[in-house]
C-alpha cells in the first residue's frame, strides 16, 4: 500500500506564513476532502505535495522516496490545478487540445478513451484557447486531466467551480466509479462542502496554514454535536469540552462541541443535542466571530 507522507511542511512568503508545520499521511485507496477558507493554504499544500512548488521547510515522500525532482514518484502523482486564466496569463493562448495532448504525454497511464468520453460529456471545445472559454469549461478540462491521468494519487483543486449542478453530479458519479474500479487515491479541495461530503472518506481541515483536523469523516461527524438550550444549561453540559462557535439569542444558546478522544457529553434532559453536517462543523471550527 502506497503512502504519501509530508513532514513538517512550512511555506513562507515574504510577509506571510502560508503553511505552518503540516504533517500528514495520505494512504492509497481513499478519497480525501481538503477544506479550508480562502487563503488557508490548500493550493499551496497541494502544490508542495506534488512537487510543483518548493517548501520552505519539511519533506514530502512517496513510499519513502522524496518526490522533489523525482521522475518515478511524479509519475504516480497528478495535481490538476484550478485553471484561473486571466487574459494576460501565459497559458491563456494555449489551446485546450494542446494542453490535453501535453497531459497525455506526461502521464504514463493516460487513458485516452476516458479523456474522449469526458470531453464529449462535458462538451469541451478542444480547439478553443484556454483564455477564451468560461470557468465551467476550464473546470471540465481540469477534471478530464485528473481522471484520465490514472495517477495513483490524484489531487483536484476546486474541481467543480463554475460547473452547473448537472455537471457536478456527473463529476461525483464518475469520480466514485473511477475510485471503485481502480482504488486510486483522490484528494479534493473544495468550498462546496455539503455536496462533496458524501464522497469524502477522510477530511483534512486547514486553518490559517495549520492542519487542525484529519479524520475519518463518519467518525468525525459521529463525535461532533450541536447543543442547544438555555445558556446556563448548555454551559453546564459542555463545561470542559472542546466547544466551537457558540451563538446566543436572548437566554438561548447553541454550541458546537467536538469532544476530544475519551470525552463524552453528559446526559441531560435540559438541552437538545443534534448531529452536525460537515459544513456546519467546518463553519464552527474555522468561522470567525462576527462572520459565523
Amino acid at each position: 500500500m502506497s503512502e504519501l507522507v509530508c513532514k513538517g511542511i512550512t511555506k513562507r512568503y515574504k510577509d506571510k506564513e502560508a503553511l505552518r508545520d503540516v504533517n500528514l499521511t495520505l494512504e492509497s485507496g481513499k478519497i480525501y476532502g481538503l477544506i479550508g477558507r480562502n487563503g488557508a493554504g490548500k493550493t499551496t499544500l497541494l502544490s508542495i505535495l506534488t512537487a510543483q512548488n518548493p517548501a520552505t521547510a519539511g519533506t514530502v515522500t512517496l513510499d519513502g522516496e522524496p518526490v522533489w525532482e523525482n521522475r518515478h514518484a511524479l509519475d504516480q502523482l497528478c495535481f490538476s490545478r484550478e485553471l484561473n486564466i486571466a487574459g494576460n496569463s501565459g497559458v491563456a493562448g494555449i489551446k485546450i487540445k494542446e494542453y490535453l495532448k501535453a497531459a497525455s504525454l506526461y502521464y504514463p497511464k493516460w487513458d485516452q478513451n476516458l479523456a474522449d468520453r469526458l470531453i464529449k460529456a462535458f462538451k469541451i471545445e478542444p480547439k478553443k484557447a484556454m483564455g477564451k472559454v468560461n470557468k465551467g469549461m476550464l473546470s471540465a478540462v481540469t477534471i478530464t486531466v485528473a481522471l484520465a491521468s490514472k495517477a495513483a494519487f490524484t489531487f483536484l483543486d476546486e474541481p467543480v467551480a463554475g460547473l452547473d449542478v448537472i455537471a457536478r453530479e456527473f463529476f461525483y458519479k464518475t469520480l466514485v466509479e473511477e475510485y471503485t474500479e481502480t482504488g486510486r487515491t483522490f484528494v479534493i479541495s473544495t468550498h462546496i462542502i455539503e455536496e462533496a461530503a458524501a464522497v469524502f472518506e477522510e477530511v483534512i481541515i486547514l486553518k490559517d496554514g495549520a492542519l487542525i483536523c484529519m479524520e475519518n469523516t463518519e467518525a468525525l461527524l459521529e463525535r461532533a454535536v450541536r447543543v442547544n438550550g438555555l445558556a446556563a444549561d448548555v454551559d453546564a453540559v459542555t463545561a470542559g469540552l472542546a466547544c466551537h462557535h457558540s451563538e446566543q439569542i436572548g437566554r438561548s444558546k447553541t454550541v458546537t462541541v467536538l469532544p476530544r478522544e475519551g470525552e463524552t457529553l453528559p446526559d441531560s434532559r435540559d438541552v437538545t443535542v443534534q448531529p452536525v453536517s460537515l459544513q456546519q462543523l467546518f463553519v464552527a471550527l474555522c468561522g470567525e466571530e462576527g462572520m459565523g
Binding site: T50, R71, F79, V91, L105, Y106
Partner: protein, 214 residues
Amino acid sequence: MKLKTWFQLGLGLIGWSLLCAMIFVVVGFIGEGFELLGPLSCLPMYILFCAAIFAVLMSMTTYLSYLPLYLSLGSTRKETWLGLHLMQLVLAAGCTAIAALLCLILPGDPPRDLISLLPAALLAILAFAKLGSAAGCIALLFPKVGRALSVVLCMVFSGAAGFVGASATMSFPDSFRLSLPGRATLIVGAVLAALLLVELLFQRRALPRYEVRL
C-alpha cells in the same frame, strides 16, 4: 526523462520558420515584378532569419507559458531545463540543415555564398535562443522588466525583418565576403558562449524557486 513534448515544439517551430520564410519569398516575388528566381534564391537566408526570430520569441514565451504548463503536468525542473535547450537545438539544427540542403539545390549567388556561413548561422540562432531564454528568466524574476524587454525585442525584430527583406539581394565586396565566415563563426561563437553563461546564471536562480501558477 520526458522530452518528447519539447522535441515536438522544436519541430513545430521549424514548420513555422519555413512558413514565414515562404511569406518573405512571396512578398519578394510580388515586389520584384513577379520575378521568382531572385527571392527564391534568398529562401535559405529567410529560413535562418525566421528561425532566429522564433528562437528568441519562443524561448522567451516558454518561460511564461510552457514552463508553468509542463511543471503543472508533473515535469521536473531538470526536464524543463533540458527540454528548453533541446527545443532550441532542434529548431537551430533543423533550420540550418534545411537551409544547407536548399543552398545546394537552388541556383544563384546568394545560396552559394551562404554555405560557408552556415556554421555561424547555426551558432547565431542558438545565440538568439539564449537571448530569449535570458529575457524569459528575467521576466520570471522581474515581471515588469520582462514585459518591457519583450516589447523592445519585438520592436528590434520587426525592424530586422524589414532590413533582411530589403537587403537580401545586396552584394558585398569579395574581400569582405571571403573573410566573413571565419570571423563570423568566432564572433557569434563568443557571443553564444557569453549568452549561455548569462542564461545559466539566471536559470540557476529562477528555476529551483519557481512557483507554478496557471
